[in-house]
Amino acid sequence: MPDLYNKLFEDVRFREGLKACLNCGTCTAICPAAEFYDYQPRRILDILQTKDDSQIENLLKSNTIWYCGECMSCVTRCPRGNAPGLLIQSLRSLSQELGYFTESEKGRQQLAIKRTIGKWILEYGYCLFPSEIMPAMHPEQGPIWEWEHKNIEAVMLRLGANYKGTGPGILRKIPDEALDEIYRIFEVTGGISRFDKIEEFSRKKAKEMGMDMEDGTNDDYMKFIYTANSGNHTKKHEG
């Protein structure tokens, strides 16, 4: 087993986020994830403080670390200056580096995020791009988005955007040189390697689950991870 605690400790966010927890629960008290998921940020610190790699391994393979919404409300309140939200980020990073994320339903979703947000960052230079936000995948966006999506160029023109245009402005086409630069940044800093790992471990998992996985967003595995919900995430009481 890799030296998990020490690997986590290499992450500055981990060092910044874990001082010494006194188990007061101010984090869990106001954590939106704790309100709706079987989740307590306090427990995360409890486990990490043990430095016990077998417990940490379980955590890295669990749904637990994927419930947090990274709103960082916990950071404001902690009387000891811990930052549970930052610890979650370091745990998620390590879970992906080691491929443990594919062991949980919520962790497996990383592939879907990589293939949407990740792809768009490199392709458009934006985290989102309107033509990609399909009303069918986002029905809650309502009739207004359906209308807007259908008329995107005209609506963007009406609202003064420079949609796919050159020069500055809203939703301009980001110059190819700039896109090349951000690709190189991703290459140099480990971003591309993170993406490759998400792909590689997911492919392995899809095979193990006997599911078809291609490169886009329409294969069985992608559809499965995008929508699968066991319903076991919100339970309040044991038994």
Binding site: V12, P32, E35, G69, E70, S93, G118, W147, E177, I225
Partner: protein, 360 residues
């Protein structure tokens, strides 16, 4: 509730906001969902306040949503941020301002990290140089675009045509404010008014004539939670968070919700629609919902800009009841027209949320 108590706290969290010469970076979510807001922000700064604000066409996403969905490593995000700083340095600017709260939080986090762990700054400089050949200076002043509108709120009021007053009753409009989590929850001193009672939107509402409502779930996240919305299987979390806020604010009968984060207004707007479709429940008066505005949209209304230039037509919750209350004229026929009056058809009407109605 004693407002003096809050005022004392606001005094403790004063923040320096540059006066002029801004290097501007955009927001991914805002450009997608509220393009009119960014347009309005620049219009106010340039034509109303005569400020110098520069946008480099080469700037990109800060990768914040990727960072907070954890597909983008911290080192990558730091270098993406460094590249934006390099563009600023090259253009000769020192005051960095961003349209996005996630970005604002990330810029703050990166600068703090560099401060506490100087080796990370060194490494980032090396990465950036290797990847792009660029070098950078750190900004002198980092602000969120709402900080700037806050700073010039009185000038906006003085130039304004409208006040946040209900013209039928003469009473101030009752406004709920919602602050993006990453504005000050991580670093209270970086937000006007701190983390517990942020003042950035309250200052605008008060100076423009409205009344601020404080309600129990004011500090609650809207529920975006990055991966919690982006993946369909998790959206139950996202909508449940917003619903909690609506249920908590409902008894106070707010006339509108004002936001400073790009994502929050979209979710608070769309989830009202989704809740109505899923449960038949609508908030606000007469089944119209509670209009959700960005601070730029509200500033634009105060200044008398055409609501359809501000982009208020791309809200799912109709804004007309609010316009009527303030007494702002609008042409219903033009709401869904393109530039030069081009016919674009109309969105369908939701099942429960009242979207089309007679002009009062």
């Amino acid at each position: 509730m004693k407002v003096e108590g809050k005022q004392r706290i606001w005094m403790d969290y004063q923040k320096e906001i540059a006066e002029d010469h801004f290097f501007y970076v955009r927001s991914c979510v805002r450009q997608n969902f509220f393009p009119g807001s960014e347009k309005t922000f620049l219009r106010i700064l340039k034509s109303e306040l005569q400020k110098d604000i520069y946008e480099n066409p080469s700037h990109t996403t800060c990768s914040g949503i990727g960072y907070h969905t954890d597909i983008v490593p911290f080192e990558t995000a730091m270098t993406m941020v460094a590249r934006q700083f390099a563009l600023m340095t090259e253009a000769g600017y020192e005051n960095f301002t961003t349209s996005c709260i996630t970005s604002f939080g990330l810029y703050s986090e990166v600068l703090e990290t560099w401060h506490h762990f100087p080796e990370t700054e060194e490494k980032t400089r090396e990465f950036l140089l290797r990847a792009t050949g660029r070098e950078f200076k750190k900004p002198n002043n980092v602000s969120h675009a709402s900080d700037i509108i806050f700073r010039f709120r009185k000038e906006i009021r003085d130039k304004g045509k409208y006040k946040l007053v209900n013209q039928h009753t003469g009473q101030p409009l009752r406004v709920v404010e919602h602050i993006g989590c990453h504005y000050s929850k991580m670093f209270p001193s970086k937000g006007i008014g701190g983390a517990e009672y942020p003042y950035v939107l309250i200052g605008m509402i008060e100076d423009w004539g409205g009344e601020v409502i404080d309600y129990p779930e004011r500090r609650h996240c809207c529920g975006f939670g990055f991966r919690q919305y982006l993946i369909q299987a998790n959206r139950g979390f996202s909508i449940s968070c917003s619903k909690k806020k609506f249920d908590s604010m409902e008894p106070y009968k707010p006339d509108m919700i004002l936001t400073n984060c790009p994502g929050c207004p979209m979710f608070l707007d769309r989830w009202q629609y989704a809740i109505s479709e899923m449960e038949g429940k609508t908030y606000g008066e007469n089944g119209h919902g509670i209009p959700v505005l960005t601070y730029e949209e509200l500033a634009g209304l105060v200044l008398g800009y055409n609501p359809w230039d501000l982009g208020l037509q791309v809200h799912q919750v109709p804004v007309e009841p609010l316009l009527d209350k303030i007494g702002i004229p609008y042409d219903p026929e033009m709401k869904f027209k393109g530039a030069d009056g081009q016919d674009l058809g109309k969105p369908e009407s939701p099942s429960f949320l009242k979207f089309y109605f007679e002009n009062v």
